[in-house]
Symmetry: C2
DNA sequence: TCCAATCTATAACGATCGCTACACAAGCCA
DNA sequence: TGGCTTGTGTAGCGATCGTTATAGATTGGA
């Protein structure tokens, strides 16, 4: 166990991390300065650095937090829904909601930050795996190109995030989602 | 006519503007410093400022040049193709090519720069107008929601640009384009 | 040939960047 | 109550940002 002596921290670490996450989410990594972060959180630079490390480590932790909160709906859908079709429908539907929730930055942090290329690739592979599984079990036609379909879903979600950032409404994103879903191959009965 | 006296400019203005355009295209407005630009162009700051004005004016001119060259295919397709369906098919097909042309930044400059929101809105309205025209003339079913369809096309193109930036191949983008096109409403015969 | 105009090159401006040294305040343990 | 530890607040570090003053180089016209 730690010694736990000395002055107590004067701020809520998780609350500050949430404010930092929203700042990076809205403005991006580069455009968000440490001075911006100290201004929005009220935490002075030395305290920020002591609690989180340097700016890049802070960004990394903010992204991790984002994935476990605001951005967790994708992973949840892929885990909880039995079929790829249901998972994708849920992802697109919930994305329309999440990307336009009031009092939050619009769109997706992961899809907006150029430096998070690796996480986006992971997401594509997750979609592709889910589709491939359904093709293997016969829930989807044998000729279905899983990679192709996964890329189309990824493109749709990225397009929705971009539109949301530009101010698209929830209804508009729902329409885009519904249109995209109409290309889904007919399930094997 | 101008007086035309004094020392001649030691660089090709248009060639330098092209190099600047590619730099902004690849790295974005904020992430591209004036020092970067002087390094890649070989033009010293005072010459750059005399020829183009400040960084923001230089960016504006670079974007204009981009629209008249690399990014002109969209406007051309909307102008030259008789129907919305043909225009959109050509836009998506050429986007797959343009976004993955070797020895160039990948994706679209306009779709990648957050500050060019207005140009993106213009593009959506152009798509929507083309679709609306076909609905009015009967080339598309009367019930077609032009705004909805335009947003779906916009989402697809943005998704393709994002995927291209992440390294997607030309064939992959073509597949995404083809999948998206399959939702197009059947033309009125 | 000398002037006037224009471009180039160096160097530096003030502002801001990410980050930290330093002094002080606030806590627990002896 | 000291003494040790840890967080806070200020102030400033060197580096880089966008931009420009200044001096020299190069041109065409008188």
């Amino acid at each position: 166990m730690r010694a736990m002596v000395g002055r107590k921290r004067g701020f809520d670490r998780d609350e500050v991390l949430d404010q930092v996450t929203r700042a990076f989410w809205r403005d991006g990594y580069q455009a968000t300065s440490v001075a911006d972060l100290t201004a929005t959180t009220g935490v002075n630079p030395p305290s920020l650095y002591a609690a989180f490390g340097d700016k890049h480590a802070l960004f990394t932790e903010a992204v991790a937090r984002y994935q476990q909160t605001y951005g967790a709906f994708t992973t949840r859908a892929l885990e909880e829904e039995p079929t790829a079709r249901q998972a994708v429908e849920r992802v697109l539907t919930e994305a329309a909601i999440e990307y336009t929730t009031p009092d939050r930055p619009k769109g997706c942090l992961v899809l907006s930050a150029p430096e998070l290329h690796g996480l986006r690739d992971q997401a594509i592979r997750a979609f592709e795996g889910k589709i491939r599984h359904d093709v293997a079990t016969g829930a989807l036609p044998a000729g279905t190109d899983a990679h192709r379909l996964a890329l189309f879903v990824a493109a749709t979600v990225r397009g929705m995030s971009s539109l949301a950032r530009d101010g698209a409404t929830r209804a508009e994103l729902h329409d885009v989602a519904r249109t995209a879903l109409s290309v889904w191959p007919a399930p094997v009965p």
